[in-house]
């Protein structure tokens, strides 16, 4: 292993070693004191975050070009580690309250984050496949973590079967791309494509790219590959759902951006219409079905599907070299906006959740405005941010997405985006109306770290919008070269 290899994977290495050690150390932590495991997990994440930030701005490539360290990977790694830290913060009290305190939760979380970071750094289809599995397999276990509760087990099995199914598509797609180009390295694929015609290979390449797109559409929950999302989000323990909706989605988009923007710009003539249809369908179906939901977890699941559609909208223009940089930057920007908003909303949901999946109907939020004004105000901020209304980060994020779509010449798609955002206002604001206008006596959990997460994400949602330029510049600096 050369020095460059080591530099490239240093944060990853630190985290995976820490996760393995944590698995071992947890054996010696008695039941009832699993707070120490949570603390150690957070320390590991903070250490890795420190290493990642120390490497910011540095570019390196390791293991024969299979892994890369660049602005793109640093940006996403910070996002993954941040969502991991928030995940640990909300999980600690939740697991205790729901009587699920088992130490392996935190190790599995750390392993999953390792997979996500590997995904952000991958520059080879083999590594992308490994990263996909490394992030997914711990999540299958985490989704079923509340066993023997039937709905959690059901969520785990559904996530597992559909996740494995989508992996099948990704692997077959990679095979066909390899068959067409003779290499799995993204950089070499670009070289082969630039060198000239592939003959019959070009058909293989297109089918391969389409299969990879199908596989990752499952991961990011784009319509029509979204069927698992509501069930899994509803059945999984809520901290896992929060982490999944942020981390797994961002990792899926990381892979899509790496593969498509870096290796397949030449296929854009074939793929752009497909992406266009995927984005439009996802925005439309996600928002329409969300209207009829009465369970807040299911509603947020459909909302997460709809947001995948908005991010896909930015990627439709990926093949246009003048817009490609903006399309990646605005997608990354929106992933951050979505991450803080989504984590905040889920943390409010956790505050009201009672054992045995009670307290999760939207009606259970009635009266929160009078009973707990702080929590209700935070939830209002998150709902406004999801809708894309001021004064929140969601508005700025959507602005960049729509701008990218229009720059790329997809005005129709941008109009669909605006119209579906209007539709979404109906069900997001219904939560706000329920909280403030209806009578009820909800009992909110006042656990310290949960409140901390709610407050931090609410502040971030409001404050970050005042520095969109700085954040967007960071995202733009992260764009793949």
């Amino acid at each position: 292993m050369t020095q460059s290899d080591l530099i490239t994977i240093l944060p990853l290495l630190a985290l995976v070693v820490w996760a393995c050690a944590l698995l071992l150390v947890d054996l010696f932590i008695p039941k009832g004191r699993k707070g120490w495991t949570a603390l150690l997990a957070a320390a590991g994440l903070a250490l890795t975050m420190g290493l990642t930030l120390a490497q910011a701005g540095r570019e390196a490539s390791g293991f024969g070009g299979m892994l890369r360290l660049d602005g793109f990977s640093t940006f996403l790694n910070v996002l993954f580690l941040g969502s991991g830290l928030l995940g640990v913060a909300v999980a600690y009290g939740y697991l205790k309250r729901m009587d699920l305190e088992r130490g392996e939760f935190y190790s599995l979380l750390l392993f999953s984050i390792t997979g996500m970071m590997l995904m952000a750094q991958a520059a080879d289809l083999i590594v992308i496949f490994l990263a996909l599995e490394l992030l997914s397999i711990p999540l299958y276990v985490l989704a079923a973590f509340a066993r023997p509760r039937a709905d959690s087990e059901e969520a785990g099995l559904k996530y597992f079967l559909l996740g494995a199914f989508s992996t099948g598509f990704v692997v077959y797609g990679i095979t066909l791309v390899f068959g067409a180009t003779g290499t799995t390295s993204l950089a070499k694929i670009v070289e082969v494509l630039a060198a000239g015609s592939l003959g019959t290979g070009s058909l293989l390449l297109t089918i391969g790219a389409a299969l990879i797109l199908v596989g990752f559409s499952f991961k990011v929950a784009a319509v029509p590959f979204h069927m698992w999302t509501p069930d899994v989000y509803q059945g999984a323990p809520t901290p896992v759902t929060a982490f999944m909706s942020v981390g797994a989605k961002a990792a899926g988009f990381a892979a899509l951006m790496r593969i498509f923007v870096m290796a397949f710009p030449s296929l854009s003539a074939d793929l752009t219409p497909v992406l266009w249809a995927l984005a439009a369908l996802t925005m439309f179906i996600g928002n329409i079905i969300a209207i009829s939901q009465t369970n807040i977890k299911r509603m947020l699941a459909y909302s997460s599907i709809a947001h995948a559609g908005y991010i896909l909208m930015a990627l439709v223009a990926y093949g246009n070299p003048a817009v490609a940089a903006d399309s990646v930057a605005s997608a990354l920007f929106y992933l951050v906006a979505y991450a803080v908003t989504s984590f905040g909303a889920w943390s409010v949901v956790m505050s009201l959740e009672k054992p045995d999946a009670k307290g999760l109907e939207i009606n259970d939020f009635a009266g929160l405005g009078r009973r707990n004004p702080l929590l209700a105000a935070a939830m209002t901020i998150f709902m406004l941010s999801f809708t894309g209304m001021p004064p929140t980060l969601g508005l700025v994020g959507k602005f960049f997405l729509f701008r990218t779509a229009i720059e790329g010449g997809f005005i129709g798609l941008a109009i669909i985006g605006v119209l579906t955002s209007l539709i979404s206002a109906y069900y997001y604001l219904r939560v706000v109306v329920t909280m403030y206008m209806r009578e009820g006596e909800p009992q909110a959990e006042g656990e310290y770290w949960l409140t901390f997460t709610t407050v931090v994400t609410a502040l971030a949602t409001v404050v970050l919008q005042f520095l969109p330029a700085a954040l967007f510049a960071l995202a733009a600096g992260a764009v793949l070269k």
Binding site: I137, P148, L161, T167, T175
Partner: protein, 104 residues
């Protein structure tokens, strides 16, 4: 390069057939174990095509990839079977049509 007398196309046709059977199996069958076996069939279809391509190009990457897929599939089997056993204990069934406590 040819493989004895068998051309590459034959391998690809077989692999595509296996993949289609696997995908259809996942969509049609209702038993979680059989769905899972169908997924494995899809992965192995990819493996077959990968080895055939690797032979054609004369590079090792393809064969390496197959080892990765096999290892990861084994890890997936461990988790998947554990989930199936856990759900069988709760529900005494692994029919996916009966997994309907979540809907809306």
């Amino acid at each position: 390069m040819n493989f004895g007398s068998i051309p590459l196309t034959y391998y690809l046709v077989l692999s595509a057939a296996l993949f289609t059977m696997g995908a259809l199996g996942v969509l049609i069958r209702r038993n979680a174990l059989i769905i899972f076996m169908s997924v494995e069939l899809m992965l192995n279809a990819a493996n077959l095509a990968f080895v055939a391509f690797a032979r054609q190009y004369g590079v090792f990457t393809g064969q390496l990839f197959v080892f990765f897929v096999m290892t990861v599939a084994a890890a997936e089997v461990a988790v998947g079977l554990a989930l199936i056993v856990a759900i069988f204990r709760t529900k005494h069934s692994i029919d996916v049509d009966q997994m309907s406590s979540l809907k809306g």
